[in-house]
Amino acid sequence: MSDARFVNERMVGSSVIPDEAIPLVEGDGRFLNDIKLPGMYHVAFLRSQHAHARLNCVDASEARRLPGVIKVLTGEELLGKVDPFRSMPNRFSGGESVQHWLAVDKVRFCGEAVCAVVAEDRATAEDAVDLIKVDYEPLPAVTDPRQGERDDSPLVHDSCPNNYLIKREYQRGEVDEAFRNAHLVVKRKFRIGRKQALCLEGRGCVAGYRENTFALTVWMSHQLPYVVRHYLAKHLRIAETDVRVIIPHTGGGFGQKASIYPEEFVCAWLALTLRRPVKWVEDRIENMVASTHARDQYIELELAADCEGRILAISSDVWVDVGAYSTYLWSAGMEPLQTAGLMPGPYRIEAMRYRTRGVATNKTPVGPYRAVGRPSASASLELLIDEMARRLKLDSVEVRMRNLIPVEAMPYRNANNLVHDNVNYVPCLKLAVLKSDYERQRSEQRNSRPNGKLRGIGVACFAELTGLGTSTAVGPGTLLQPGRDAATLRLETTGVLTIAAALPSQGQRIMTAMRQVASDELGIKLEDITSITNDTATAPYGFGTFASRTAVFGSGAVIKAARELRQRILAMGAYILQVPIEELTIANSVVQTVDRSKSISLREMAEKSYFSAKDIPQEINQGFEVTSFYDPKFGSFAGGAHIVVVDVDPKTGQVKIIRYVAAEDVGTIINPAVVEGQIIGGIAQGIGEALLEELVYDEAGQPRTVTLADYLIPSALEIPRIELHHANAPSAALGGFKGCGEGSIIGALGAVVCAVADALSRRGGDIHEFPASPERVLKGLGVLPSDGQAGRGSE
């Protein structure tokens, strides 16, 4: 059953109501924690209370005696049996970090797993955790990357001099010359706080033993089923074919569920060892300390401009507090390399230079999260562009217009060596200006505010590289070069089409999108197409859902497979109907001649193909199952412009968003309502990042924000109505699609922080540290004394 909100003749472009949402709205979702297997044990973890300490002795004798406890597992017991996580080699690696699944000898962050307790139920497992006695010998903690890189700093890993997990220097173009000849140089120090994805459902797994024919079946709340399968096999030293990974309904991912973590691997080992299914579900406190964090940059950015406000060069120095271990698979390079490397965004920049480091600290590791690096980079550059505009007495829209890469200059290779292929940066900004009535906003701003509020207007433009093929690295410098995924299309015996791919959804409606694309390619009615995307036992190989790639790869693979399947269907139709193949078409799940005089339904044809095979020559009956791989080769840039109007209360420091207008280029749209949801959802997370969300640690490395009462994410009251508009340009990928999952969070952070800074500038204030909490806003206004951490650099 499917109907659509806006039905076009083509399914691509229609807001088809997704069947896949029906169980979720009816309470029939099957999330990880809803899975129960007979005889299943439950796992709880003892976690380090220290940021950095030597583990002298773990005494679990009392815990083991508690009735209902099956096993207490320590890191020592796993030594030599499984392979720990060594940091992925990266061209820009500093030293190596080795992460044992359960800590051995030392703990390196609060929340690191030390022991796993297996019990008959979770409550007993947690009781037993409390009975384990650990003798910790506290060590000095590294909690600031700028201290941590000094020669006299304590080391998080003895193998990592100066605590560098990542370090890179880069230069392209005549940077020194540009700064020497500049009409104006502006420089600022920015600080973007640590945050996390905050999926409403945490991580978790059920590891089954000898379910069906597989030695190990793992249900995991994760984004990359085949990657999990590969690494489970590798680290457990078993055959990949003995492992099946199934992704149940997943309560948010946002990149946090794209890394490999120890806990799920411990559970898999326990299931194989105990020969019983085990389950572990992360609780919220665990999620706040044991699932990857994000951002946490110190950025010193310098910009050289000519007298007309054109950017001649940028130079940046970036420190990222990447936490205690190199995040497994992606390395510690995610934020450090992308923050510095993607600094130019959508602007034409001929010369750039950066020095960036990922410094190990005694905090939770930093991993991928929606739009890695770009929001912090973009916000810094946008704030600096505004500063330049103020100094040159230019309007913030005008100065951006002068620097955006115009459509006619594309393809354009920027100073960071990325090619902008076909993206409407300028049309998006023009559209946002028009729709926000920008001139009127500025004139209203100039008039005094009777309510005593400071009005600010923020403009931000952004670029987001999506759908990365094999020629463009997702994680710069890593060995990981995903960029090739497959889809299998199979016409079942009833004539229903099944699409299988390993591209699980965390709410992006991937299954619906692929059905829409297949429907157009094959002329099969949407209700005759089903899709399965979450199971390595049924899907062809794929890398999974991350990096704004899934719609591009899934659709591309579907289109390629559909074209082949279509030929097979038409060939059989020609044989059965005894007409030339050119006279046939497929529409509404029926193969028919163009004049409709002869026809056969796909159902009838499929039945014949499978059950009356002797009547059809083999060379015609090739089987209605096709697998195609798709590699778009390069990525496609998406982009946009956001304009935000805020009121800042100079008494309380509170920021209220008055108006939010976004104009985006996301390429050809498959399902407009779904895309709208992705973009608005990204904006909401960006608003949270700009104003509310921050993971705070004290100087000893103790986390101070471990509940949702301390770590604030936006509620419906903090998010204004978002006015969304499109200026789309198709990409070069099959179907013209681009990714749309991440871009909007970049624009949101940039536009909101620029609006706040603009408001503060009305009273001579300024702000460089984010999120823009009331306290920081009041410091920026001089109402509270500043701590002088970030701010004005030497000029």
């Binding site: 979720l24 924690n33 994410i713």
Partner: protein, 159 residues
């Protein structure tokens, strides 16, 4: 104090008599003992609202309520929203048609809150809707489609 206690509770119209651990939360009771897994647990400290259910006609956080506190209570969960003939509750239909869910984890709690809102205030303003659902966190949607679904529902009579 006894570690276990008998309770009698009516859930979605059916009465259960069970002996439960006194420390068992109502959310765990519904999920693990009655297998009603539509109620989700997001934070276990009453902030996120994913576990919202209806208890004696008022919305309640089932993660902060003990199962023994529900003794004698009348409870409705998302599994109880469907009509007897199996049709979706109108609010469920409005959520579906307005694309008001992505991952769907907050949806059960959000639906319970939305239904209570329109029962108490059939014609809310947009701000009233936002206020009413401000105790239900959604990380995917940015809330706009949820607000629109509830406003659309307010235009129609709810069953």
């Amino acid at each position: 104090m006894a570690r276990e206690q008998p309770i009698k509770v009516t859930v979605n119209g059916r009465t259960y008599e069970k002996i439960v651990p006194v420390r068992l939360s109502l959310a765990d009771f519904l999920r693990d003992h009655l297998h009603l897994t539509g109620t989700h647990i997001g934070c276990e400290h009453g902030v996120c609202g994913a576990c919202t259910i209806s208890m004696n006609g008022r919305s309640a956080r089932s993660c902060l309520t003990l199962a023994v506190q529900a003794d004698g209570a009348e409870i409705v969960t998302i599994e109880g929203l469907r009509a007897e003939d199996g049709r979706r509750h109108p609010m469920q239909q409005f959520f579906l048609e307005n694309f008001a869910l992505q991952c769907g984890y907050c949806t059960p709690g959000m639906l319970m809150t939305a239904i209570e809102l329109l029962r108490d205030n059939p014609k809310p303003t947009e701000h009233e809707v936002r206020e009413a659902i401000s105790g239900n966190l959604c990380r995917c949607s940015g809330y706009q489609a949820i607000v629109d679904a509830i406003l659309a529902a307010a235009g129609k009579e709810l069953a």
